[in-house]
Symmetry: C2
Subunit: 215 residues, 2 copies
Amino acid sequence: MEEREISQAVIGRLPRYHRYLGELMADGVERISSNELSKRMKVTASQIRQDLNNFGGFGQQGYGYNVKYLYNEIGKILGLDQIHNMIIIGTGNLGQALANYAAFGDRGFILKGLFDVNPRLQGVAIRGVQVRLMDELEDFLKKNQIEIAVLTIPKTKALEVANTLVNNGVRAIWNFAHIDLNLPEDVIVENVHLSESLMKLSYNISRYNGEHEKN
Amino acid sequence: MEEREISQAVIGRLPRYHRYLGELMADGVERISSNELSKRMKVTASQIRQDLNNFGGFGQQGYGYNVKYLYNEIGKILGLDQIHNMIIIGTGNLGQALANYAAFGDRGFILKGLFDVNPRLQGVAIRGVQVRLMDELEDFLKKNQIEIAVLTIPKTKALEVANTLVNNGVRAIWNFAHIDLNLPEDVIVENVHLSESLMKLSYNISRYNGEHEKN
DNA sequence: TAGATTGTTAATCGATTAACAATC
DNA sequence: TAGATTGTTAATCGATTAACAATC
C-alpha cells in the first residue's frame, strides 16, 4: 500500500480549481476542457491535467471534464464533504472576523466555541456561540470533540495554548499568531502570517520602483 | 543594466528570516552563522546563504552574520525602511481587525483612510482614522497619495473597486476578496485567500486520516 | 469514422542541496 | 597561523511543460 506523497504545491492549487469550478457551475457551464480552464485561470492545461491525475482520472477523452462532478470530487479531496468541529481562541478583531465569516459553515467547518482571556467578553455571543474564558478551555475540550482550533492570540501565548490544545485532542491548528509552532509531527499547522504577506507586497512595490538594482 | 529576477520563492522566505533575526536581536544575540540559523529555522544552511546572496554578501567568512545588520538589510530589501500610505476598503470585521493591527504602523505602513458602504459606520474612528463612505473614495484618492489599498469587501464588488483604485494611482492591492483581480501588469496584487488556506488545512487532516488512498 | 481531448510519458526548466575554494 | 564560515559553483532533485498515443 505504498502511497506517494502529493506535493504541497499541488494541494495549494486545488482550492483555486475548486473556486473556478464553483463559478462555472454558478454560470451554468456543464463541461470544460483543460484547455479552456487553463485560459481562464492563467495556468497551463498541462498543469491542470497533471494535478488532477494525482487523484485519478476525472475527465473523458474528447469531452473534457464535467464541471459539477469535478467540483464535487475536488471538494471531497479537500475534505469539504466532512464535518469539522472548530473553535476560535482569541476573540479580538480577527477572531471575531473569522467567527462571523459564515461561509465556513457552508463548507462543513462548524464553530463550536469561542475563547478569550478578557472577562468583559465572557458570555457575549457571536453567531449564536458564546465567548468563554480561557480557564474553561481544557474542560471544554474534554467534553467536546474538536478537530480544528483557530489561533488568533498574541504570539507570546500561542505556543503554550497550542500545547494545551494538542494535549486535549485537537488535530489541526489554523495559526494566525506570528510564530512558528513547533508541535508533534502529526499535528497539522496551517499558518497565516499576515505581516509576512504584507512584506511580500512591499517588496514587490520596491522592485517595481527599481530599488533592487545591484551596483 | 540587465537584472535577473529574484524568484518569489526566495521573496517568500525573506519575511521569515526577518522575523527570526528580530527575535535573535531581542534576545541580545549579536552574530549567527548560517548553520545555527538553519537549525532554528529548520531550513538548510545552503538555502539561507543562497537566498541572501541574491542580494549581496552580508556575511563574513569565519564569523557569520551580524544579526542587527542583516535584520536591517533584509528590512531594506523588503521596503520596510520606506513609508507606505495605505487605505482599507471595507470596514467590516476583517477590515477593522487589520486597521487595529498597530504593528503595521511600526513597519512604515501608515493607515490614511477607511472606507465602507455602510452609512452607519460613517464618522466612526478606528485608531484615529474615521470611516468614510465609498462615494468619497475617488476624491480622496485624488487628494492623497495612496500606495497600498487593502480590499476587505465581498468579491462581487472587488474588481470594480480595484479598477477605481488603480485608475487613481494606487500601486498595490492587498486582496482579501475571494476573487482573482485581473489588473494591469504593473499593479502589485498580494492575495490572502483565507478560505483556500482553510481548505489546505482540511486536506491535510484528511490525508492523516488516510482518506486519500487510491484503490 | 473523424475530431477532440484526456491521461501519461518524456523533456525541460528551475529550485534546492552539496561541496569546496576563498577568506576572514 | 589554524579554524570557522562564507560566497559560489556544481550536482541533484522536483516541479512544470511539452508531446503524443490512447480513447471517448
